[in-house]
Amino acid sequence: MATSIHLDTVRKEFRTLGNTHVAVDDLSLDIPEGSFTTFVGPSGCGKTTTLRMLAGLETPTSGTVSFGDEDVTDLPPQERNVSMVFQSIALYPHMSVRENIGYGLKIHGVPKAERDERIDEAAEVLQIEAQLEKMPAELSGGQQQRVALGGAFVQDPDVLLLDEPMSDLDAKLKSDLRVEIQRLHQELDTTVVYVTHDQTEAMTMSDQVVLLRDGELAQVDPPKQLFDYPNSEYVAQFIGMPSTNVVDCAVEHRDGETVLVGPGLTLSLPAGVDVPTDGRVRLGIRPQYLDVGSAGACRLSVDVEVVETLGTESVVHGRLEDGTPFDVVSDAVDDAVAGDRLDVSFDLADAFVFGEDGETILFGSERASERSSSPAGAGGVTP
């Protein structure tokens, strides 16, 4: 039975040699039952520590963890109905694939006949029937990962925890397994919590993405929401490839209008936008939302440094006139070479404005949807 998970002001400290390191700080979060939730963030952001607290392998320094209504904060891993797949895969080298998958069932005293039946079923789902009698060392990396997955879900856990299960696999296998894991999630009645540093995995697989920063919650939202309405510069830069371009701008007032002035850029803000007067802000624009040419309302010039061709489109890495790095993704820049100056433009509707503290002040798209008087998708964050 899938269960919901609730974290309430969870804090985890590690003490080593008199130093206290706060791995997770004041984390409160609800994970709906049966959902696929991904923890994402750079290494050291506390995502694996959080997962280990869900597994019972770490105990929070303070705060509570509950599964449904049950407080499991201090329960050892043995007493939680969770399964976990480890980054290191962690197959038992002295047991056959069959024994590896069935080990948890054996611990729980499931009779051999039923055990074998369930192992065979799992193996069929994961397409490793032919490997069942082999030893883990005889398998490829992808097969080993499938065995680890099999061992985790054959126990029918309430919560399935996956700790960077694909970080050691090559790109092709990753995309295969991504589909596999999502299919499993659909078939199983279980809450999946997935940890990764790879934002592609987070964006493609999840119902809900939890982005962490230095042990603190940066934002929780469905992937699309996270992409369209990042609540801070950090989120905007972490989610999306290549990263969101960020340009320093001064705020000026001209003829009753608020104007952002950046390197080679002047941008009038619509009335009613509350930006700090005479302060500085940072303008964010995703490389995908830039058009080559001057069709958009705001224009910029980029000095091209490197062009990466991806097939249908190209990524141009360049700099603005003051040296700010600036990337453009477009299908119209095939002939650009290093040293060129590229004119690009964008609409305010596609931009973000961040305050000096990094918080998002304005989502361009929100402004745009207001203008077209469509209330859809209002971000959950008040500008």
């Binding site: 597994a55 019972g56 392998l57 050892p76 891993p77 043995q78 939680r80 969770v82 399964s83 976990m84 480890f86 980054q87 290191s88 962690a90 038992y92 080298p93 002295h94 080990y103 948890g104 611990i107 729980h108 061992g151 126990q155 925890l161």
Partner: protein, 288 residues
């Protein structure tokens, strides 16, 4: 020879050839000092002294193998008793030392406790002691406890010599066993003990077999401790017993070599059957 100073003067092929010659020469030299004594031992053991010394010189090409020397050992010495004594204390000490090593190695790598690094350093430090340094104090201890001339005391004494290195070996070995294996078992519902039995011990097998072989070698080849702890003839181990033969008029070269051959058999068998594990275990310990 082909050092950095010689680079350019000696061609790459020549360097390789010189290297190979050096390796073979070293191997040959070592063989001379190990194989020849073993050969001499075997030949003298399996010939009657009459054959060995026929014609007023030592004959080292066996012509008439005989069991005469072994029969003399069985008939007129306590060799069998010595051998059994050795087996008893060696087995006891091997099991004890390995058990301590597995427990200590697991504890040192899996639990945090105050004084952990001190404990680890103390283990290595205690390994520095030569057995003779411990012998007299241990004699005093066993004498006070009334344990002299017992298999139990000698087992403890031998464990005192082998345990530090075994602990160090297992400590190193357990560092290579990923803790995720155990965590994965816990999450699946296995208790700590069950995990040790099902996962930790099987995975650590090359490690503890190496430790056991080492403990075996220390105990089987021991002379000092047995000499100190045992003072009654019927309690001697085979090494002490064999050394006494040299003092006896009735026992000659032939019998002495025969008993030496007997002493060599258990280590030989162990090396033969367990060398795979030995190499695995020691390569992890950084002793390759």
């Amino acid at each position: 020879m082909a050092t950095s100073a010689g680079r350019g003067l000696v061609s790459h092929d020549t360097q390789k050839r010189l290297q190979r010659i050096a390796v073979y020469l070293t191997a040959l030299l070592i063989s001379v000092f190990t194989i020849i004594p073993v050969y001499v031992m075997v030949v003298i053991a399996i010939q009657s002294p009459a054959t060995t010394f026929a014609g007023g010189r030592v004959n080292l090409l066996p012509t008439e193998p005989s069991l005469r020397n072994f029969l003399v050992l069985l008939g007129s010495t306590d060799t069998v008793r010595y051998f059994i004594n050795s087996l008893v204390v060696t087995l006891g000490s091997t099991v004890l030392s390995t058990t301590i090593a597995v427990a200590a190695g697991y504890g040192l790598t899996r639990f945090d406790f105050t004084g952990k690094s001190l404990a680890a350093r103390a283990v290595l430090f205690s390994y520095m002691f030569s057995p003779i340094v411990l012998a007299i104090p241990l004699y005093v201890v066993f004498s006070t406890l009334g344990l002299l001339n017992s298999h139990f005391a000698l087992t403890l004494a031998l464990t005192a010599i082998s345990a530090p290195f075994c602990i160090w070996l297992m400590w190193q070995y357990f560092q290579t066993v990923p803790i995720a294996l155990e965590e994965s078992a816990w999450v699946r519902g296995a208790s700590r003990w069950r995990t040790v039995r099902d996962v930790v011990l099987p995975v650590a097998r090359p490690g503890y077999i190496s430790a056991a072989i080492f403990a075996f070698a220390v105990a089987w080849n021991d002379f000092t401790m047995a000499r100190v702890v045992m003072s009654r003839d019927e309690m001697y181990t085979i090494t002490v017993g064999a050394s006494l033969f040299l003092d006896r008029v009735s026992i000659g070269w032939g019998e002495t070599m025969a008993v030496s051959l007997l002493i060599s058999i258990p280590p030989f068998l162990i090396a033969l059957f367990l060398q795979r594990y030995l190499l695995q275990g020691f390569s992890v310990g950084g002793l390759e």
